[in-house]
């Protein structure tokens, strides 16, 4: 307890109110996740008997749903596609953004204003869905994974976050490195990047989440359903409850509830794994400093 001396003692009603609201908020967020996870770990009979989502863990754990899901090539392929697109896309985006943000953090250099302007204007001017759609199709990227990576490869927000952080690094570090004969690339690699682990981690998370969650670009540009990422399969299987075309013969019926919930769990898990490593930076306010620019 770190209450200041001048602060009055909390009232009982106030404490109860706070405790209650915290409990309700936690429950609203965590309970759905809990029951979905539990249902995915239940056997078909349990789900049948309960008549829907399983709330009480009474019948033990069964991995039937996961087995069934991974026997279905649709889900397995989609998982591989999603992992690949996310890994490649994030790597590309983070590299491009670090380089670009570093370049933008040196005001007064040649072309600096033009480059900065063409990034900052992305916050207020959008090309719109149709022109991008026609352009990406005209580039011949249909059915190509590049079509779902390149249009979202640079996020102006992420570049600005990195730039703001880079600009706060003390000038003396740059000066002494230059005296020692280091070029820009070496300065970035040896000094700036190691000092900027926190914002780089945050930006990496943002990019990775964006790639992992994106289904609309795949929906627009990938006509071949066997190339679909997991998010799009999730939409088709779970939200629309429709069977996928190429699964005919094997699993042409819509999947059972437990399998659906298993797909949901698989779609959530990567976020849950990375999140704890990055979330401490949010609390320290890495983003805020940048937003205030």
């Amino acid at each position: 307890m770190n209450r200041a001396a001048w602060e009055e003692k909390p009232t009982a009603a106030g404490r109860a109110g706070k405790a209650l609201s915290i409990a309700v908020i936690m429950l609203l967020i965590l309970f759905p996740l809990y029951t979905i996870a539990l249902t995915s770990l239940s056997s078909a009979e349990t789900v049948q008997r309960v008549g829907g989502l399983v709330v009480w863990p009474s019948d033990g754990v069964s991995f039937d749903a996961y087995e069934q899901m991974f026997r279905n090539p649709v889900v397995l392929d989609a998982l591989v596609v999603s992992l690949g697109v996310t890994a490649f896309g994030t790597l590309l985006s983070v590299l491009v953004s670090i380089l670009g943000a570093y370049s933008l953090s040196r005001p007064g250099s040649l072309g600096h204003k033009t480059i900065l302007f063409s990034v900052l204007l992305m916050f207020v001017i959008f090309p719109g869905l149709i022109p991008v759609y026609l352009w990406v199709s005209a580039l011949g990227l249909r059915d190509n994974y590049l079509a779902i990576i390149l249009p979202m490869a640079v996020s102006a927000f992420n570049v600005v976050v990195l730039r703001a952080f880079f600009m706060n690094i003390p000038q003396e570090l740059f000066d002494s490195a230059r005296i020692d004969g280091a070029g820009e690339f070496r300065i970035l690699w040896r000094i700036v990047a190691p000092l900027s682990k926190a914002p780089i981690a945050v930006v990496t998370l943002f990019y990775a989440v964006a790639y992992w969650n994106n289904w609309f670009n795949a929906f627009l540009y990938l006509d071949d359903t066997s190339k679909w990422p997991l998010a799009l399969v999730l939409r088709t299987y779970v939200v629309e409850s429709a069977p996928l075309p190429q699964a005919s013969g094997l699993e042409s019926a819509p999947p059972t509830l437990a399998v659906k919930m298993a797909i949901v769990v698989v779609a959530i898990v990567p976020a849950l794994i990375i999140y704890p490593f990055v979330q401490k930076h949010f609390k320290k306010g890495v983003i805020i400093g940048a937003v205030k620019g």
């Binding site: 933008l104 490869a153 994106n214």
Partner: protein, 331 residues
């Protein structure tokens, strides 16, 4: 390095040094000299510039098709006939478009009242917790759904409040009628707002938390010594401290009035029908890509973009007049 003419001005001192440079103008070095000095920076910016121009600014130019009778196969962007504002006129005679417009605006207005205060209240709650551990735990939990996709959020809501969802199960088991919130077009606006709150309100609290942390504790102490109770401190210190951030976010939201998101509505359109769920972006998609009237859809999209830009500039102007910092006070 050339010693005689000083190559490009010392970089990062930049913005601080800018006014000084303005008072005693120094001739800028020739661009060739600057290029010799700055080429690594240009090389670094190149990949970003290729992507930004290649997938943002060049397609932006493609909006000219909004003024054309665009023929994708026979004409293209350069060969199609120019028809001026015909498509825009047609938009305002199109009941579907007008419905998308009214739906969008009413959802924005509704969320301004029922969504906007929630992150502020959450931030106040989290800020008021004395226990560091409890606060940290709460933060971890409420930020989490921000990282879920809309597909996931809607799948989760389906399982909770949908026709076969948990709430229906519970009601039916106790002899009531089940309810299906996911397909009811009358309550759709409530549904999308709750989804937005569930997904984004927690993360939205971050910026208010930062503003709260920036308020000097001395102010609270002085007020308490002068006899202000906790509610008066909230009213006279906390809320004024939050005001710049609140104004900033209100401006951004108003500038974004025509933008209520696409995925959330697109994903639920088939369930609730287009009557309630058609918003600006879904209209652009259906009229443009699904139907194939690219020029017409592009006109709707361009209309949205231009109105959005005007709105955000206007809102910023108003903020300046009210003496707030606004969004672009810096430049």
């Amino acid at each position: 390095m050339t010693a005689g003419t000083k190559p490009s001005p010392a970089p990062a001192a930049g913005e601080a040094a800018a006014p000084a440079r303005r008072t005693q103008p120094k001739p800028r070095p020739h661009w060739r000299l600057r290029l010799r000095h700055d080429w690594p920076l240009l090389v670094m910016a190149l990949p970003m510039m290729i992507l930004v121009w290649g997938f943002w600014w060049i397609p932006s130019l493609g909006n000219v098709i909004a003024f054309q009778d665009y023929k994708p196969y026979t004409g293209g962007v350069f060969g199609s006939r120019i028809v001026g504002f015909t498509h825009f006129q047609a938009l305002f005679g199109d009941p579907e478009f007008l419905r998308a417009l009214t739906n969008t605006l009413s959802i924005t207005a509704f969320q301004l009242v029922f969504y906007f205060p929630i992150p502020i209240m959450l931030a106040l709650l989290m800020h008021s917790l004395a226990s560091e551990r409890l606060r940290s735990m709460l933060q971890s939990v409420v930020y989490l759904p921000y990282f879920f996709s809309w597909v996931l959020v809607i799948a989760i809501f389906q399982q909770m409040v949908g026709g076969a969802g948990l709430l229906s199960q519970l009601l039916r088991r106790n002899g009531f009628e089940g309810l299906d919130w996911m397909t009811n077009s009358d309550t759709f606006i409530l549904l999308v707002t709750s989804q937005a709150i569930w997904k984004d309100a927690g993360f939205g609290a971050i910026i208010f938390l930062a503003a709260l942390a920036a308020i000097s504790p001395a102010l609270y102490e002085a007020a308490a010594v002068d006899g202000a109770g906790r509610w008066r401190r909230l009213w006279h210190i906390t809320l004024p401290g939050l005001r710049p951030v609140i104004v900033l976010l209100l401006i951004l939201r108003l500038g974004d009035a025509l933008n209520v998101g696409f995925e959330q509505f697109f994903l639920q359109r088939s369930a609730v029908g287009s009557q309630a769920s058609e918003v600006f972006d879904t209209f652009v998609y259906y009229s443009g890509i699904r139907v194939g009237d690219f020029d017409y859809g592009a006109a709707a999209g361009l209309f949205k973009g231009v109105v959005g830009l005007v709105l955000i500039l206007a809102a910023n102007k108003v903020a300046h007049m009210l003496g707030e910092r606004g969004v672009y006070s810096r430049s």
